[in-house]
Amino acid sequence: MTATASPKPDVIVIGGGLHGCSAALHLSMRGVRVLVLEKDHVARHASGVNAGGVRQLGRHVAEVPLSVASMALWHGIRDLVDDDCGFESHGQIKVAETEAELETVRARVAVLNALGFTHEEVIGQDELRSLVPAIADHCVGALVSRGDGAAIPFRTTFAFRRKAIALGARFQEGGAVTRLARNGGLWTVETADGAKYEAPVVVNAAGAWADRIAAQVGEPVPLEVIAPMLMITARVAPFIKPVVGATGRTLSFKQFPNGTVLIGGGLLGRAVRDENRTELDFSQVSVNARTVWDLFPCMRGATIVRSWAGIEARMPDQIPVIGPSGTEPDLYHSFGFSAHGFQLGPIVGRITADLITAGSTDLPIDPFRIGRFAA
């Protein structure tokens, strides 16, 4: 079977996560014909099940310019995708439990300020108390990024997909790309069900499976498949607005408007990517619960009703791969977001569209080039 019914796409995007959908949207906005190939269904993996944290706070300095640009898109997300994506901005806070931790965050702010970024600020105990009245007494201060927030991941990814479709993109779900070959300036992309698609340009946004696509073009990458875990509580009376993390330990803590509290932060279960399956590690979940016990005494009686994990790609340096392939022309990568790629979704799609339609982008993406792993 061949996809003859509709006109040949200009670009094939492999992967229907937020990054694939965002690339599809930005390309469609520029009149490029896009076909997205997704092996399961859109937002089935990391992009649909993550914590929804929209965070500039605490990012690797290489990511900061992208994150800041993405934040601007988040604050106008309705204009971009015709849906507010459940985005709310009540700030994100990283709590310091000791003076030493507070020193660490002060040093970080100094570094950012020197680079010209002012979105992160150090606050003392009093302001921390007023922003987060429920925080444990021992916390001495915090790092805060007031423009940060959270959104609803599945809804967000779906909204990107919907808008892209409205602008002419096509989505083919339920068939994994198994082969990729370039001949005479045209890519041939084959899926598991035997279908073949052709386009001059391909985007690899295959998340935790992206190394396999890269390997097809002789470009191996040290991608680690991880399974960050989350858990959610039964409803408790609303008591907190910002998303809270910690400086010295792993935490992400957020209450939804309906009262349920989402607890995570990146503790890992186990991923079996060939089976689309994850397994939880309850000794790690327990460590996470212990952190909440320490930082939010009011949560000790809460009940946990569900936990889960998503399959995500992590790179050794914890920052993604973004940009052109090092071995083949007309192939662009966008993967390896290392458990914090949701916030970057809106901007990285734009960057990929820039690269494809204009040959360059105004954001600094050199740190993310795939060639950095070559010995």
């Binding site: 089935r44 309906n258 503790l267 939880l280 309850f282 619960a289 009940t303 936990s307």
Partner: protein
């Protein structure tokens, strides 16, 4: 974590102490395996024999002879040497890791007992988690005063409680008749039974009648039904139901149940009611099996999902088997025999008995199982609930935890949600404390009907542990190794 023979290490864990679990644990332990029997209830017995050791209902004729058979399963359990932990909720079963360094393949069970969580290590798990009442979503089913007939029966068995005030029972299936009969024996007031069994079902069921004529249930069932019909008002061919908090003309909404509105032969009628007991059959309680990763399939005849098992109850996950109604509805006697068969297979897999011994010992149990299942197809077909009660109208709530209506699910389908997992991500339905027990089957059927495909194609929720809520305090206090804590601080 702990050495074999310790308090937290057994050959076999049996989850559920209904007929399936009781029989499985007793047989496995009697052959020398170390067995632990876990059940969240304070007493053994499961659903059918609920509270059989302690029930205040002393008059044996109220609950009937089938109920008292349960007591006979307790002696063998006691004599077998199995460890019995009642009051223990199992919230997770982790399949064996295929990458364990030493080649051992233990299964970890997360449980909660006396307010403390802990992990148990076993080599085989028999899930005997039984059945649940099929959700019965009608307008107003969330009103106080409306409850499942099974839940009402639990109150009768455990506390001798019967409803007070005007009471209406509605639905179909053997359990509805059984409860009505038990209430009659107990002298409770039942104003009417609204029978929703679709008339057309008879046509489909009739060819299966010969099988049912040989069923052990036939005689008992007929007598019970005749008794009930003689003494109570039974209204048949009911095609729609609504629970309302107002009396005639009143609007639904706040408050408690005041009346039941039903349609019969195209005409609407109203009955005053303080209690409405709903029931239209039971379906496998597959939450634990699903969360463990056991494959499941759609059973068109029973119109429910059931875990895939072989003739020994083995699931798709190594070391995990299923017995009883949790593997597909067969009733109490079938559950008991299936329990024995899974126990024999577990003993074989653990190397305690040979294949030949397993097969020989199994023969009488298998014959008894076949007898117990005779006539099932007739009952399943006759009592398949009408579409109107499985696929409710737009304004009916399907997910009670998150208050999601059937209309919202249909809207999500129109936006591109193709199955329950997307609906869950989209609407949060099934994300509440019940983990889909009260909405899963309905959401599957609503999506299937809206997309005009089979439920098998739209699938079911992927469930995750904890399958039962546990407190943050309990989780936080789970034993941790230093390595766990290091791994976290290094991250």
């Amino acid at each position: 974590m702990s050495a074999q023979g310790s308090k937290f290490d057994f050959d076999i864990a049996v989850v559920g102490s209904g007929p399936a679990g009781l029989a499985a644990a007793a047989l496995a332990a009697s052959k020398g395996a170390s067995v632990v029997l876990l059940d969240e209830q304070a007493e053994p017995g499961g659903q059918i024999y609920r509270a059989v050791t302690e029930t205040p209902v002393r008059d044996r004729k109220v609950l009937g002879p089938d109920y008292w058979h349960g007591a006979e399963l307790l002696g063998p359990l006691r004599d077998s040497g199995a460890t019995h932990w009642p009051g223990t909720t199992v919230w997770s079963v982790a399949r064996p890791r295929e990458d364990a360094a030493d080649g051992s393949r233990p299964i970890q069970i997360g449980l909660s007992r006396n307010g403390a969580a802990s992990m148990l290590t076993v080599r085989h798990v028999i899930l005997a988690t039984g059945a649940l009442e099929r959700p019965f979503p009608i307008p107003g089913w969330t009103l106080p005063g409306v409850l499942g007939a099974g839940a009402a029966q639990v109150l009768l068995k455990t506390s001798g409680l019967v409803p007070s005030g005007a009471t209406v029972m509605a639905g179909s299936g053997p359990l509805l008749w059984l409860l009505a009969w038990q209430y009659l024996q107990a002298g409770a007031r039942i104003d009417a039974i609204l029978d929703t069994t679709p008339r057309e079902n008879w046509r489909a069921a009739l060819p299966l009648l010969p099988g049912f004529l040989r069923s052990p249930y036939l005689g008992k069932g007929m007598k019970l039904m005749l008794d009930v019909r003689r003494k109570l008002t039974v209204i048949g061919n009911v095609t729609s139901l609504r629970a309302e908090s107002g009396l005639a003309g009143g609007k639904g909404g706040e408050g408690v149940l005041k009346s039941v509105v039903y349609t019969r032969n195209g005409t609407e009628h109203r009955l005053p009611a303080d209690t409405l007991l709903l029931h239209h059959g039971v379906i496998p309680n597959l939450n634990l099996a699903n969360a463990t990763g056991c494959a499941q399939r759609w059973d068109e005849q029973q119109r429910c999902w059931r875990p895939t098992t072989d003739e020994w109850g083995a699931t798709s996950v190594e070391g995990v088997s299923l017995a009883g109604d949790g593997a597909g509805i067969g009733g109490a006697r079938a559950a008991e025999e299936a329990g024995r068969l899974t126990a024999l297979d577990a003993l074989y897999r653990l190397g305690r008995i040979g294949r030949e011994q397993r097969d020989q010992s199994a023969a009488p149990f298998r014959a008894a199982l076949d007898r117990a299942l005779t006539g099932r197809a007739f009952l399943d077909t006759l009592y398949t609930p009408a579409e109107a009660f499985r696929v409710p109208a737009d304004d009916t709530i399907v997910c009670r935890c998150e208050e999601v209506t059937a209309g919202a699910v249909r809207e999500a389908v129109r936006l591109g949600c193709s199955g329950p997992n997307q609906a869950k991500s989209f609407l949060r339905c099934g994300m509440g404390p019940c983990q889909g027990r009260l909405c899963g089957p309905t959401v599957t059927e609503v999506i299937a009907a809206e997309r005009n495909v089979s439920p098998a194609e739209v699938g079911y929720y992927r469930l995750r542990p904890p399958v039962k809520p546990i407190t943050l305090a309990e989780l936080a206090a789970l034993p941790k190794t230093d390595a766990d804590i290091d791994a976290v601080f290094k991250h």
